[in-house]
């Protein structure tokens, strides 16, 4: 009796078709994986970009003084032009005193001061009078503990990382001609293969306080 089966030709054709199908599926899966990875990287970089802009903007809104420290350590008031944070250049804010303590472990670290008057002026202070302003420095530097270049915010004596792995993330702040508002712009080079487009985001921030510097 002749038994039913596949001929050699049928086997070769079906195997070839299977190989093509599986190769296609594999390529598709790998491509999908790469796209997902790229999107992950983009989303992470964008979140970093958004965070650094938001941190700087929040400080700008409440600043009563702005200055730049250049790579030589020389400080100058930031009243016009632009500052690119990085390569030793730091942006320094003077924030109005608002908290009873600037030591994170102090129980009064999150307790606001009271409003006090001095002559005709109103400010924050305590029974000892008006409290002095608080310096905040924003820089891009290598942090040994994180073993990478980071954006770092230093308030009083306390330092905090804002963005890790920030070698490809750049930040600049441009002061408007009237000195009353700034444009904060951050951009990064996408990690996607082939072309590396620059992704840029910016915010326009009005300085809320009267500058005292």
């Amino acid at each position: 009796m002749k038994r039913a089966g596949f001929t050699l030709t049928e086997m070769i054709v079906s195997l070839a078709a299977s190989v093509i199908l599986i190769a296609g599926l594999l390529l598709g899966a790998v491509g999908l994986q790469r796209t997902l990875h790229d999107n992950e990287t983009f989303a992470t970089s964008y979140a970093d970009q958004r965070r650094v802009i938001d941190v700087v903007s929040r400080d700008l809104r409440r600043a009563i003084g702005l200055s730049i420290i250049d790579s030589g350590g020389v400080s100058s008031p930031f009243t016009s032009g632009l500052v690119a944070v990085g390569d030793g250049t730091a942006l320094v804010f003077a924030l109005p005193a608002y908290y009873q303590s600037n030591v994170p472990t102090d129980p009064t670290y999150d307790k606001p001061l009271v409003a006090v008057t001095t002559g005709e002026r109103l400010s924050y202070g305590d029974v000892g009078g008006v409290k002095p302003e608080v310096p905040v420095q924003f820089s891009k530097e290598f942090v040994a503990a994180a073993n990478c270049v980071c954006f770092v915010r230093k308030e009083a004596d306390h330092s905090a990382i804002v963005v890790r792995d920030a070698a490809e993330l750049f930040l600049k702040v441009t002061m408007a001609a009237d000195g009353r508002s700034c444009v904060v712009e951050a951009w990064f080079r996408s990690q996607a293969r082939g072309v590396k487009p620059v992704i840029s985001t910016y915010d326009r921030v009005m300085l809320r306080n009267i500058r005292t510097d």
């Binding site: 979140a47 958004r50 109005p96 400010s123 924050y124 408007a176 306080n209």
Partner: protein
């Protein structure tokens, strides 16, 4: 032969399962990103809403705390939830909650009044509620001391599923309330508890507010400002309360005197010149100004020239600015219980004690007049409300050393060539003669001098057009709709720095803005 009919279905199901798993994996990867983007948008929205709460409080402060009578704080409640009715400002003033005294420094804050759970019109689909607390700082019965502290907390809803951002730095920075609300935030949720469900985000901003006084500048205008048209006309300052900055009797020492100061600032609030964004908003006409010269815009930041001020040859260009913005609001006369008619036969007006001033109502016009001194060792106040003109054709106005006269005028003011509050028997202190021009819309009124004279007075009239003779020396301050001079001459406006802190608030400004980021 029998075909295996179930295989097609099996392969299809297998493929669909694989595709579904792939889609589920992709969605699982992407969905949190979308939720985090939504969370970050809500974080931004919360700050904007909190600032909206500050705006709402500022609007109510402007409505209720400017001018002489205290307003009714409609919509505000005390911390027990009872509606604030009547003169809440006074209630707030009297209800001093905390007095901290140490080392001779006293810090006083009133009880707060609150706007509870204000639901803002949503600019997106995010549900938002705002709680606003308002304190009087160093409250006293004196309207000049109306300082405020505003604290506004906005809470915005987040997407229902609580997601912690994959990057821990984001969580540290944005501080969402995902499963519970921090105790610190609950302290600011005054009145009825916030109805925005968890997860949500709360942000708190604060503002300190101080009054804008009517006599802060030598010349303050709302429309046009044109200075004297000769090089010898000028604006400068002195301080009648300081002998180092004035003559021994507190009078203006003269332009070249070393006691004369350089705080005679002028400002014009007019928004933009006719026919363009940049151009003349103050015509300096070659006059000298020892103080800031400020406009509300008008200067092209792209050019080194200062287009906002013309004829600036005698000005210090470093003191020319374009960032002035100060709304000028008319003041309303007081509404006392007892009002007297003016004295007959030209007899002097009689002052009352500081806390119970004498009020006079002049139904028609009023000319020259004088005021009797208050009893020795006391201070007196007289309020004269004139329905017609203040027209000093001859004679003068004489205010004694221990009396403050507040004059409210609905008509025009014309001093002709007569010196005012500057002769024998006059105190020669601008703070003692405060003249308030009332709003008589749609008519505009005038303040005029038309011959050489010396005037010691402070004037505030948002609907008045002031025109001084070029040889008039006005010692004090002038705030008017428009200001100009006529005829050339060597006169000027000499700002008395002792006027700071004098007069009722005409507006308010934010002097400190902070965000409570450690709550």
């Amino acid at each position: 032969m029998k075909h295996p009919r179930g295989s097609t279905l099996f392969i299809t199901l297998l493929t669909l399962s694989a595709l579904a798993m792939l889609a589920a994996f992709t969605l699982a990867k992407i969905a949190p990103r979308f939720r985090i983007a939504h969370q970050n948008a809500a974080w931004q929205e919360a700050r904007i809403a909190a600032e909206g709460g500050i705006d709402a409080a500022m609007a109510d402060i402007l409505r209720n705390a400017t001018g002489q009578p205290a307003g009714t704080w409609t919509g505000w409640k005390d911390r027990t939830g009872a509606a604030a009715t009547g003169a809440v400002l006074d209630t707030t003033v009297r209800a001093v909650a905390s007095v901290l005294t140490s080392l001779g420094v006293t810090v006083e804050t009133s009880n707060p009044i609150v706007l509870d759970n204000v639901r803002l019109p949503a600019t997106s689909s995010i549900t938002t509620e705002v709680d606003v607390q308002l304190w009087g700082v160093r409250p006293t019965g004196d309207p000049r001391s109306r300082w405020f502290r505003i604290r506004s907390m906005a809470t915005c809803a987040l997407p229902p599923a609580a997601y912690q951002a994959p990057e821990a730095l984001d969580s540290l920075f944005r501080r969402f309330s995902l499963r519970s609300v921090r105790p610190q935030l609950q302290q600011d949720d005054v009145g009825t508890p916030c109805a925005v469900p968890l997860p949500n985000i709360s942000r708190i901003v604060e503002a300190l507010v101080e009054p804008i006084e009517p006599f802060e500048l030598a010349v303050w205008t709302d429309r046009t400002l044109s200075l004297g048209s000769t090089g010898s006309w000028g604006v400068d300052s002195y301080d009648s309360s300081d002998v180092a900055k004035s003559n021994a009797d507190g009078t203006y020492p003269g332009w070249l005197n070393v006691k004369t100061q350089e705080n005679g600032s002028i400002g014009n609030n007019a928004g933009r010149p006719a026919g363009g964004i940049y151009g003349e908003l103050i015509a300096a006409n070659g006059a000298r100004v020892r103080g800031d010269v400020a406009t509300n815009g008008g200067d092209d930041p792209g050019t080194p020239a200062q287009e906002n001020v013309t004829g600036a040859i005698a000005l210090d260009t470093a003191r020319v600015r374009s960032d002035f913005c100060r709304e000028m609001k008319p003041l309303v006369r007081p509404t006392p219980g007892l009002v007297l008619p003016p004295p007959l036969l030209g007899l002097p007006f009689l002052p009352g004690p500081e806390l119970a001033p004498t009020h006079y109502l002049v139904a028609g016009n009023l000319g020259a007049f004088s005021v009797d001194p208050a009893p020795l060792g006391t201070e007196g106040v007289v309020v004269i409300m004139i329905n017609g003109d203040l027209n000093v054709v001859a004679g003068t106005i004489a205010i004694p050393d221990n009396v403050t006269a507040q004059i409210y005028v609905r008509g025009n003011i014309h001093f002709h060539g007569n010196s005012i509050n500057a002769g024998a028997g006059s105190c020669k202190r601008p703070a003692r003669l405060q003249i308030y021009g009332e709003d008589s819309s749609p008519a505009l009124q005038t303040l005029r001098t038309d011959a050489p004279s010396t005037i010691y007075a402070a004037f505030y009239g948002p609907t008045f057009e002031a025109q001084l003779d070029g040889n008039t020396h006005w010692c004090g301050a002038i705030a008017a709709r428009a200001f100009s001079t006529a005829g050339g001459g060597g006169g000027g406006v000499h700002f008395d720095e002792a006027l700071r802190g004098i007069g009722p608030p005409v507006s308010f400004r934010i002097v400190r803005y902070v965000e409570d980021v450690r709550e």
